[in-house]
Amino acid sequence: MNRKNKNNIHMEDRQGKPVDSMALDDEKRIKILSPGLLVFKRFIRNKLAITGAIFILAMFIFSYFGGWLMPYREDEVFTKYVDMSKVYAAVSENTEYKFITTDNTEFPMIARSQFVLASNNDRNLFESQGVSYSIEKLADELFVVFNTREVAVVSIILGNTNVALSDPSMGPSFIERLEEAVDAGEETFTYNDKKYLLVQGKKNYLAYELEPLALATLNRYDFISADISVSYDFAFAMELAMHELMETGEKSRLITVGGVEYEMEVEEEKASIYLRNNGDRTLYANISRYLVESIYQDVFISIDFKDQVKAMMSEGVEGVQDFVYVNIDGEEEEYTIERNNTEWVIRWIEDTLVIKAYDPPSKEHIMGTDGNGMDILTRLMYGGRISLMIGFIVVVIETMIGIILGGIAGYFGKWVDNLIMRIVDTFNSIPSLPIIIIIGAMMDAQRVDPKIRMIYLMFILAFLGWPGIARMVRGQILSLREQEFMIATEATGLSVSKRIFKHLVPNVIPQLIVISTLSLGGVILTESVLSFLGLGVKFPFASWGNIINAVSNVHVMTNYLFVWIPAGFCILITVLGFNFIGDGLRDAFDPKMKR
């Protein structure tokens, strides 16, 4: 009913006009469509064209305005803190000798291994890299290593002791002491606070001067603070004391090293050392066979923690065991400990700073993040800018070349036309994609700057894309030239430039718009293929193609769909949009099409 009313109004509208005052054959009687509206109307009526226009508009807004509105930068890497169960420390029973050297001396690595060999074979002398060393066994698994220097040879010929000194500075009293030792059959002797070693050869004795170099022990020292390191003297004293205590069964003893008084308490295989100060005692260090080491270089594990761990271990750890450590500030820290063969691994939940790689969509990152921790939505926007920009620039360049060459060929004809058309044929048969791939690969190897690369890419694409346009322009101009209105322009004596720009060009433009729109889609597609192959737009610049590039990793392809699916649809929609519009425009401009 309503509809009918509307129709009536409509009829009145048209009849209400002062028709009668006009003659029937007056064109003013009939309203017609203006030329612009005619094309526009045909375009509007094409649903696909409208869809295409909406697509493109949306992509433009998305890429350009989206890029402005987006708070993130194109290449901003996002990080986050993650509670990660991370290995915090490893505990193992020490089975290797630790060498505590005296001040300012060095015990080379090679020599250390020689020591292990020697100690296993009960030799007390060994050599490494031309340096002689000797070993003194203090207790089981406790040795002192000396730097050894031959000082004298004592030969006993017919009961006569003959001493040959290597060092003339040694006085006769040393010889006396030496002879005394030889007579006594001592293996070592002391002279002038220095230790000497006598080794019996076949016919003679060799005397060596011993200089303490290092203490070799299986025990580990855990100090109260990271600043303290173990010194030779301290270790020597402590080791001896500990040994003795364990032998005697005593529980504790006072030891003075370097004027500082310590108290040692021994319990099973470990010992605690307290610093005594006017009767008070504070824990200073622990000695044990266990090695508790943080995997971080800068983390010092407190002695309490180590104690707690050791205590747990002595109770025996089975499977994964949680434990809580109360630190100095009274906070509880949760850890897990797990036996792993001969080792124990301590893990903790750590707030770690990591790159947000492949973060699923969230509030901050509506489309998630990619493998580099960059916001995918932002990348898509900037990628759109680049894809569209490349598309437009390439099409503008190739259209210009096409118009100029096609126009010249079409307008001047004859040999000029022939020549240009052969050039077009030639360029047409040059395979463009392989050439771009080769140049891309070459630029890769030459490490060309991504920005310059992009410019090259545009020029190459344009350079290989113009022949189609040139051919179209030429054909169009050839057919226009035959039209009578062009002959009329010649007959009226118009100048060549006016004939070209006022008569030819406007008539070529519709076709040109169509072909440019269609090739826009093509260029964007080619660019995306190249970028996908890693030969087009390069990181840090985003491009839809290089975003999809992530799928070369099958894991990403299968598990992180949000990384590559949107980019694919962006390309599809944009190219489809341009194709829809181009198709619609072609129909709209074509007077033969009825609608």
Binding site: S429, P434, V529, I548, V551, G568
Partner: protein
């Protein structure tokens, strides 16, 4: 007609000559440091020729040591004898590698092509018959989506759905590991498992153009006077379209189909690479990315020749198919 063909052949050879020159010039403008770096890299690979041998080969065949014009003629001389040098990446003569791989591409190309034609032409005609109907819109949309689909994206989706999620087809390669041990049917199934997705990709991405082309031509034919005459004769709509309309539409379609036959040898560069099919396309891609100058140059020239052959065939076919042109 004979004169025409001879003339066209002559022209094609001439154009091919210029194309060859441009390709040669492009290759020559590659920085020598790059060439040397690649040669050195190649020489380090096990079983390869030495660096000096590679460079020597290049110098010999491509005349890198002489001027560009002289070098070009030298190169053309060797090419005419069929000598394209040894591939750097594959370590075999270029022509030999080409012979090995071309049939994979041809198989892939021709199967897809047959499928494409047999789908696109009927659908195009259907769309034209029912212009502006829902069918027409659907066909147009399918065609344009095909044209607009990024091939790598579509291939990836196929892989994801059919290979990873459904497990119907294989992700990569031409044959399975146990291919040799399978019986005939098994071999066929195995091949199908590898080839279905690449073929589907090529078909979907390539079908749009032909479909649109058919539709446009059919529309033009249907608007012509002789179709009205056919209707006035009392022919049924079916016969008007399938006989009078179709025969006229066939002229441009046969032309374009004939023209694309040489293209079947060109290999689907992207598709083959994506699906790991060792056809000429993938081989060439690896060669190009690997800086294999001899193979790249051969491939470029090969493609140019195919393009020219395609246009030549199309033009000749046009003259053969269309009675109006036949006489002259």
């Amino acid at each position: 007609m004979r004169n025409y063909i001879i003339k066209r052949l002559f022209l094609s050879v001439l154009i091919l000559f210029f194309v060859a020159f441009i390709i040669y010039a492009i290759m020559r403008s590659i920085p020598t440091s790059y060439v040397e770096a690649i040669a050195r890299e190649r020489a380090n690979l096990p079983g390869s020729k030495s660096y000096t041998e590679w460079i020597q080969q290049l110098n010999q065949i491509y005349g890198l040591d002489s001027g560009i014009i002289k070098g070009f003629f030298g190169w053309i001389g060797t090419v005419v004898q069929g000598d394209f040098g040894d591939s750097w990446v594959y370590n075999v003569p270029v022509v030999e590698k080409f012979r090995e791989t071309i049939w994979y591409s041809f198989a892939l190309g021709s199967i897809s092509f047959i499928i494409q034609v047999s789908i696109a032409v009927p659908l195009g005609i259907l769309a034209a018959r029912k212009q502006y109907s829902k069918t027409d819109y659907a066909v147009t949309v399918v065609a344009l989506v095909g044209i607009s689909l990024p091939i790598f994206f579509f291939a990836t989706i196929l892989k994801l759905v059919f290979s990873i999620n459904l497990g119907w087809f294989e992700l990569y390669g031409t044959v399975g590991r146990f291919y040799e041990q399978l019986d005939g049917w098994g071999k066929f199934l195995d091949l199908a498992k590898h080839y279905v997705m690449p073929i589907a990709t090529i078909v979907i991405v390539g079908i749009g153009g032909l479909m649109r082309y058919t539709r446009t031509n059919m529309l033009e034919v249907l608007n012509s006077d002789y179709i009205r005459t056919a209707r006035a004769k009392g022919l049924t709509e079916r016969r008007v379209i399938n006989y009078h309309g179709f025969r006229n539409t066939l002229i441009p379609i046969v032309t374009i189909i004939g023209g694309s036959i040489p293209g079947l040898f060109a290999g689907a560069l992207i598709t083959e690479t994506l699906f790991g099919i060792t056809g000429i396309g993938k081989t060439a891609y690896d060669a190009m990315v690997g800086g294999d100058i001899p193979f790249s140059m051969f491939y470029l020239l090969f493609l140019a020749a195919l393009t020219l052959l395609g246009t030549l065939i199309a033009d000749i076919l046009y003259a053969v198919v269309d009675p109006r042109v036949r006489v002259n």
